[in-house]
């Protein structure tokens, strides 16, 4: 191998550092006073492996902000939504938390990643910047920050609903689990296992994969020999899709069950409609046509982005609506006043009726759907 000089290594690090810096914010100190735009930061992965989540979240939040701006903003002031790229990386997230503090942002939307949000939480708490995250890890609640809010249910809610349906209603007791060791997968693993334990069920297999694993033959062949009636997956969209696709190729025919990622178009595309058939999904947003509100949202989303709306965009839309409503009701309050206004906001959203408790969680229910003929359909009863 060619020798590497120290200068080379330093230059490379500098280069990476430069790439990590993102969207320059304007130095508008007037943001907190009575005129000028109201500055809100959106922090999400816009590059890297989790950028699809970040892209969806941005679309949902942008839609809400544009609606408010078109209607005249808040107290005659326009809302300025600035995007920061955390690359799905907690360290980058903490740097950004300090940045949005020093640049006087009133509030933050994001991130879609529990691990990044948890890393940012102490700094945002100290700076008294309220934020609404799309993360769902129970670890978010454990942080105990009065400035941290969730725009959806936690994994505990998702998986308890799922266990109730799979075990109590369907009577399926031989269950295998595959989860990944990322923050999302770990949360799902613990939450679903707890729901099973409370029903005196031990899974016949409890396999953990890594977040960037591509080949699941060893894990799946092991599970096939245990003959489960249903397989629980706790992994993000693409990985879940690959697991299901490879399972079908290996001759595993039983249905899969999981939370929100298993209801997304990305999961369906990756797995293939045939392989994904009968997947049981626990999600607060099953489809774009369950209510008038979701139909309206989906139409606006389609018109703006020429794409079908999905859960993550809807979550971010709800979260941003709540944030803007609270800004209005608190007369563009900041810090604790804004946090209290968010907590007091009752909002009928796409995901359900939000009513926040002291932990910052506003929704405590999900619905069950199954994939039939390549579409997610709500299960009635």
């Amino acid at each position: 191998m060619p020798r590497l000089r120290a200068t080379t290594i330093i230059s490379v690090l500098l280069l990476m550092g430069a790439a990590a810096c993102s969207a320059p914010g304007s130095n508008d100190d007037k943001a907190t006073s009575g005129n000028g735009p109201i500055k809100i930061a959106l922090v999400d992965a816009q590059s890297g492996q989790l950028s699809s989540l970040g892209a969806w979240e941005l679309k949902g939040a942008r839609l809400a902000v544009d609606e408010w701006n078109a209607a005249g903003g808040i107290n005659g002031r326009q809302i300025q939504l600035d995007v920061f790229d955390d690359q799905g990386d907690p360290t980058t997230g903490t740097t950004l938390a300090r940045k949005i503090d020093s640049e006087n942002y009133l509030a933050m939307i994001g991130t879609a990643e529990s691990a990044v949000t948890i890393a940012m939480a102490p700094i945002l708490k100290q700076a008294e910047i309220p934020n609404i995250t799309s993360g769902q890890s129970p670890g978010l609640v454990a942080v105990g920050s009065e400035f941290l809010f969730l725009n959806g249910p936690t994994s505990t809610t998702y998986d308890e609903t799922l266990a109730k349906y799979v075990v109590d209603q369907q009577g399926l007791k031989t269950i295998a689990m595959i989860t990944n060791n990322g923050s999302y997968g770990k949360g799902e693993h613990d939450a679903f296992l707890k729901s099973l334990k409370s029903r005196n069920i031990t899974p016949v297999a409890d396999q953990v994969v890594t977040t960037d694993q591509k080949d699941f033959s060893a894990v799946l062949t092991g599970i096939r020999q245990k003959n489960p009636q249903v397989i629980f997956v706790g992994a993000e969209e693409v990985e879940s899709g690959l697991i299901v696709k490879q399972a079908r190729d290996l001759g595993i025919t039983v249905p899969f069950a999981g939370a929100a990622p298993q209801g997304t178009p990305v999961f369906l595309d990756t797995a293939g409609a045939k392989a994904a058939e009968k997947t049981i999904v626990s999600s607060p947003y099953l489809s774009n046509d369950v209510s008038d509100a979701s139909k309206k949202f989906a139409a606006a989303y389609k018109a703006k982005y020429n794409e079908d709306a999905e859960l993550h965009g809807a979550k971010a839309y709800d979260g941003t609506q709540i944030m803007l409503t609270a800004l209005k009701s608190s007369n563009v309050g900041t810090g604790k006043a804004l946090a209290d206004a968010i907590r007091a906001t009752k909002y009928q959203g796409l995901l359900g009726d939000f009513a926040f408790d002291q932990t910052g969680v506003g929704i405590f229910a999900t619905s069950i759907g199954t994939i039939q003929n390549g579409k997610l359909v709500a299960v009635t009863g």
Partner: protein, 289 residues
């Protein structure tokens, strides 16, 4: 026993793709003594191009692959052209140049195709073969066959053609090669072009196995790089053996060490490299730095 064999079968097809990525790294290193850090990003570009030609332009899969290979070959030429003034002057800057190119390609991919990625349906949708309870996907066999053919063509090119022989000569002693009238710049350009084409081949083939997203090249790049080192950087047979070895190793650690599989894969890799620093087929003909 069945789990054991199925694990090998699972690892081999991804291993073949790692081998193709490793070949791209090795070929450029062999002729120029340079590690092309943009290679993984060219794989991503190749995967996106192949999927776009296949799904959006509705070309047959084989034609889509060829078109993608042609475009990434051109990208390889551009990278070499930009780096050429630095050749034999500042090696470190060339290295950083390739990293910079990678970042530019990454940004371009997100700008052109967006961040969300796309699933590519298998071009060979037949049911998996069932061999004594082992399930073998038909598409895996296609991947293996194409990888084998590409390798044979590459070896023939290097050993049987004048141009290939010239490239070998440049690799051994570029000053002597220049003295006998071999155009070193052209030789390097061809290495980069073939390297780019191999990247598209790997990216295009892996699309239907995995999912085409901006992160694809990063994951394949690091495994391909490890495969090249394991086999012996610069060695053609080494890249093949290294790729398959990393693929199968990956598959086994995934079964036994679960959440820690990635860690174990690279610990095993490190131990092998400590015992045999030049890799399995270690040859050290190139060191221009």
């Amino acid at each position: 026993m069945q789990v054991f064999l199925q694990t090998i079968v699972g690892g081999v097809s991804l291993g073949a793709v790692y081998a193709l990525v490793a070949l791209g790294f090795s070929l450029v290193y062999r002729t120029m003594g340079l590690v092309n850090f943009a290679h993984g990003n060219v794989v991503t570009v190749g995967a996106y191009l192949a999927s776009t030609f296949y799904l959006t332009s509705k070309l047959p899969f084989a034609l889509a692959m060829i078109a993608a290979i042609a475009v990434t070959g051109m990208i390889g030429l551009v990278i070499e052209r930009v780096l050429r003034p630095l050749e034999n002057r500042d090696f470190d800057l060339m290295l950083i140049g390739t990293i910079g190119f990678g970042i530019v390609l990454d940004a371009l991919v997100i700008a052109i195709w967006g961040a969300t990625g796309r699933a590519v349906p298998s071009p060979v949708p037949a049911e998996p073969l069932d061999v004594f309870g082992l399930r073998i996907r038909t598409y895996d066999l296609v991947v293996l066959a194409i990888a084998a053919v590409a390798t044979i063509l590459l070896v023939l090119f290097l050993s049987r053609t004048k141009r290939g022989a010239a490239m070998q000569a440049v690799a051994m002693d570029h000053e002597a090669a220049t003295a006998v009238g071999i155009h070193v710049g052209r030789s390097n350009a061809i290495a980069f072009m073939i390297g780019g084409g191999l990247a598209a081949l790997a990216g295009g083939l892996v699309g239907p196995l995995l999912y085409v997203s901006p992160a694809l090249g990063g994951a394949l790049g690091i495994k391909g790089f490890a495969a090249a080192i394991l086999g012996g950087f610069g060695s053609i047979p080494g890249a093949i053996v290294g790729g398959l070895a990393i693929g199968i190793l990956d598959s086994f650690t995934a079964g036994h060490f679960q959440g820690y599989s990635e860690l174990v894969t690279f610990i095993v890799f490190t131990v092998i490299i400590m015992v045999r620093p030049t890799g399995i087929f270690g040859e050290r003909t190139v060191n221009r730095a």
